[in-house]
Amino acid sequence: MTQVSEHIANSDERYVTYRTDYEELKKAQAPLWLHQLRKRAMTSFGNLGLPITREMDFPEREDWMFTNLAPIAKIPFTREYESSATDVSSEDIAPYTYGDDSWTELVFVNGCYSESLSRRPVQGPGIRVETLAEAVNGDSELLQTHLAHHAEFESTGLSALNTAFLDQGVLVHVQAGKLTEHPIHIIHVSVDRGTPTVSHPRILVVADQDSAVTVVESYFSLTDHQYYNNCVTELVTGRAATIDHYRINRESLASYHTSMTKAEQHDDSNISTFNMCMGGALTRNDTHAHLNGEHIVTRMNGIYIVNGSQHVDNHTVMDHAKPNCNSYEVYKGILDGNAHGVFNGKVFVRQDAQETDAKQLNKNLLLSPNASVDTKPQLEIFADQVKCTHGATVGQLDEDQIFYGITRGMSRAVACQLLTYGFAADLVRRLKVEAIRERLDTLFENTIKGRTDEV
């Protein structure tokens, strides 16, 4: 990046609220390492700005061909510092939770941790679940080792912005051989307080050797207002560790959601990510896995069900660095109205990564003539003993399937609804957490039937 563009971004009027917020955050007490990390990230953001397509150069520009963040840059989003959360109750949150009292739930309102809304049952030995603030003030060695070491911010404006405001978030650490009995649910709820707010949720999950943990991130809004969530999640596995990660996006239809999920994997580990998107005016998810060991299995699944003028973009990277690893990826989209979907699935098979087995599939169902999808598989293979398959489809419902339903006595409309539901349910029934599986199944069924009643 040149000095000229640095100058422009640093003095860019559009980012004035970020700079003001950053000056405020600098005044808050924090250890030196954190101050320095934020500062480096803010400098990087100053250089990069938000990724706005027409302001970018090749090759970074390629990743933003179909998603334009200019609307986000135009809005003077500000950050909330401390939230009293008196305008949010447990009953407001209940419809978006899954488990019983045994689930850990960490609740953030407009980006700020709410102790009163959270539920934190005592964790077993070797399992650490803390807010970032708690972790920073406690034993911060793990944070210093991992935080921002996986989701790099030197060339990624959104991660730079998140890291510059590194303050609110969650650390999950599972020591060797330990398993969490129930998922850790991190809940981000937004509520209208008159001004457009931005939050930068930051999650770090470290699973040591032979451990297993499930982490669920939920995003939703109690009011249909404008706000912005710019999330970064880092997932790190030790040898033979397992992380299951869920991102459930039910944001307000006036909101913006960008996320970077970065997985760093070692030998024999398993990571699965499930990415559900129904909300947001504009959503961009980047899910990257670095398969940096042998005999790794990585699964990335996702589903987007969008309507109206919603825009949802999923960019995934499956980076096979070592031999004998398997990756499986299925993303499905159901698009109605004028909705626009984007899928870009990169698979790298590095020179060392012999015997890689990588499968990728993106299937889209267009329910309206004005809905559209841009889908692109991108395979870059530098090893010669590999199996890589990919497929992408964009289309309507199958007439033979519709006719089959009709011969059983269904009206055409009902047969179409049933098939659309089946298209989504096919992916949901593979989810491991039963409570989420059942809830999403009902949610999809009701959404597709056009029912508005909450589930």
Binding site: Q401, F403, I406, G409
Partner: protein
Amino acid sequence: MALLEIKNLHGGIRDLEILKGIDLSINEGEVHAIMGPNGSGKSTLSKVLSGHEEYAPTSGEVIYKGQDLLDMTPEDRAKEGVFLAFQYPVEIPGVSNAYFLRTAINERRVYDGKEEMSAGDFLRHMRAKMKLVDMDEALANRPVNEDFSGGEKKRNEIFHMAVLEPTLSILDETDSGLDIDALKVVSYGINQQRSEKNAMIVITHYQRLLDYVVPDFVHVMFEGRIVKSGTKELALELEERGYDWIREETTAAG
């Protein structure tokens, strides 16, 4: 009045006329077998009757329960009790067999002005029917026909028929691809559903099925027409002599 009265029915797919004047009358309580060589129009007849949009009638008349069947939408035909068991059953990923059937049965009930069946009532109804076709509970909960074997798919068609209790069932080569054990199970399921209130059209290439599902009448289709009708003995004769003599007779007569 007959349940189904087909008069001089012509039709086919796109511009191709396959049915060239079918006449057939079926009363409640009867099972009619339709046999005939490949390409004679048997499956086309089943698709025209069930209302597949690619198969259009061009002339003639079909009266079902006193109504003009060809004038009815495919949905309404099914809701009025016309059922098609597919030669190649369709897979519906993500939708369990049970959920699929409950949706279907409840749509029909609403059409009939009845209340929807509760989940519990449906489960009891379904379980009773599962016994008829020796159906595993697992198959009811799996997505419709997905990863079913060929035999399981055919058995599933008869299971659908049992659950939906149609008035007129058209079974399109339900016996194809079945081994002898599966054939017996499927035939038992079909026979259990025969009654004075309903009727069946059984389309098959082979006599084998008719050993188990004994028809009241047998018709032979050839080049889009029914060229010979008789009782079950006709099927035996076809089994013994093949279709060549029919071809010769028809050609000589034509």
